[in-house]
Each structure stands twice: as C-alpha cells, then as structure tokens.
C-alpha cells in the first residue's frame, strides 16, 4: 500500500474485492491470462480494420468488413477493461503512480478519441463504398494512427512491471 497515492486509489486497493484478487491463488493469474487473450482478440480485429483503412484488402467491401470487425474489437475491449481492472485493483495505490501506466492511460484516451473521430467523420462516408474505391485520406491517417497508438499501449502495459 502506498500512502503517496490519492485516497481513492488507496481505498480501492483496500476493498474486499481487491484483497480477494490478491489472496486467491488463481484470480490474479486468471486476470493476467484473460488480459492477454482479450488483447489478442482486440488487436486482431483492430489490425484488420486499420489495415483496410490504410489500403490493404482493397477487394473487400469496407462497410461490411468494418461492421464485423468492430463487434469483435468491442468484445475484446470489454475483456481488456474487465481483466485490466482486476489487475489494477489489486495494486491500485502503486500502479496509479507508475509513470508508464499513466502514459498508457493517456494513450488509450487518445486512441479512443481517434476512434470517435473516425466514427463521426469517416465511417459514414466509407460505409457504402464499393471494393477498390479509394478511401478518404483521413481514413488512411486514422488507420495508421490507430495501429501505432495501440501497439504503444500494449508495450506500455508490458513495461509497467519494469518501472
């Protein structure tokens, strides 16, 4: 327990749920496994979406491809948030002060803003496009940004333990 952390995080770490995660021989391990499996599902879907935006898989219908992969990405993201919350809760007062974790949170916020920008300004314009139709330049930019940010988020996640 770190007293340097804001009280809310000390309190979170002190909850019965947090104690259960720490004291169970399996919960923390299971959350770790669930986190990386969710990440694979999430990034698998995200990579397909982003590569389509960047210019790969031009023979596919962008609207239909994005609709299907979006669902998988959302499921993966829910798994990431749930398992990540468990890992965070167990050591909340320490992890919140970890600079790599802080960078990770910031990057996640940026990536989500990037998605919001895409859904608002690009998705409606590419929904009904035919295969082999050039996408707006903005789509390419958003796709590349997304891949780079999410890979950096993953690297930060792994690096929390080392800083």
């Amino acid at each position: 327990m770190s007293d340097a952390a804001p009280a809310i995080f000390v309190a979170l770490e002190g909850t019965a749920l947090a104690a259960t995660i720490r004291q169970s021989p399996y919960a923390y391990m299971a959350a770790n496994v669930a986190h990386i499996l969710s990440l694979m599902i999430f990034f698998g879907a995200v990579a397909v979406m982003d590569l389509r935006l960047v210019g790969f898989f031009q023979s596919t219908w962008p609207g239909s491809l994005l609709r299907r992969t979006r669902l998988i990405a959302i499921l993966g993201f829910i798994g990431l948030v749930l398992s990540g919350s468990m890992l965070f809760l167990a050591e909340a007062s320490h992890v919140i002060l970890n600079q790599v974790f802080q960078i990770k949170l910031l990057l996640i916020a940026l990536a989500l803003a990037n998605i919001a920008w895409f859904e608002k300004s690009v998705a409606p314009r590419v929904r009904d496009l035919q295969p082999h139709t050039p996408l707006p330049v903005r789509a390419r930019l958003i796709g590349m940004t997304s891949i780079v940010i999410w890979l950096t988020v993953a690297a930060c996640g792994r690096l929390i333990a080392y800083f």
């Binding site: 995660i21 004291q23 169970s24 021989p25 399996y26 923390y28 391990m29 050591e91 333990a161 080392y162």
Partner: protein
C-alpha cells in the same frame, strides 16, 4: 532440418530464461548474492508476489518471494512462511528499494524451495 533450429531456439530460451524469467530482477544486484537469516515478522501470502519481513541481525529485511500459485505448486505453503518461522533467504538486494531483497530460494525447517 528442424532439429538445429529447435536446438538453437531451446538454447536461446534457456540462456535468456535466467535473466528474463521474471520481471523485476533487473533492479536487483545479482552480482552480490546475500543470505538473510531470521525470524519472520510479517507475512503477506498474496499476488502478484508473496512478501515477508525478516528480522535479521543487522536490520529488518523485506523479502519478495514468488506468485502464490507457484509457491503452492512447489510446497511453499502459507504455513511455511508464517509469522514466527525461522527462514533463510538466499537472493539479491534491491538497487531501488531500501532494505528489500528478492529471494532466489528460501529454506524453512530444513526444506528449501526455489522461488523462480
């Protein structure tokens, strides 16, 4: 064809294993192993790592052990590292945290268990 490749990969895995098997070893001074002997004052049998504090002759050490699932697997139960037990922990002092060390192995009541 595959055998040399597999052998090379296995060698790499084993060679890297020592240093990379667990995060956190980078901030411990592996060039100067120490042994901390004493009575266990507090014991947290929790994940991600169990920790005990040990009253050694020189000072009270915080000794970081291993994930509890691994310790259970290897016979280092909650009782083995309970408060009041006499422990001998071989490992490395932290280069970051004062008076903290990470145990490579611990011995309690004549029983030695590897922590990584």
């Amino acid at each position: 064809m595959m055998k040399p490749l597999l052998a090379a990969l296995a060698t790499l895995a084993l060679a890297g294993g020592g240093a990379l098997a667990h995060h956190g070893w980078g901030s411990y001074d592996a060039s100067k192993p120490i042994t901390v002997d004493g009575t266990i004052l507090t014991s947290k049998y929790e994940n991600p790592h169990a920790t005990i504090t040990v009253k050694a002759p020189d000072k009270v050490w915080t000794v970081t052990l291993a994930p509890t699932s691994r310790m259970i697997n290897r016979g280092a139960t909650r009782d083995m590292v309970a408060v009041g037990k006499t422990v001998s922990a071989y490992g490395y002092a932290s280069t970051v945290e004062k008076d903290e060390m990470r145990a490579e192995r611990i011995t309690v009541d004549g029983k030695t268990v590897e922590m990584r």
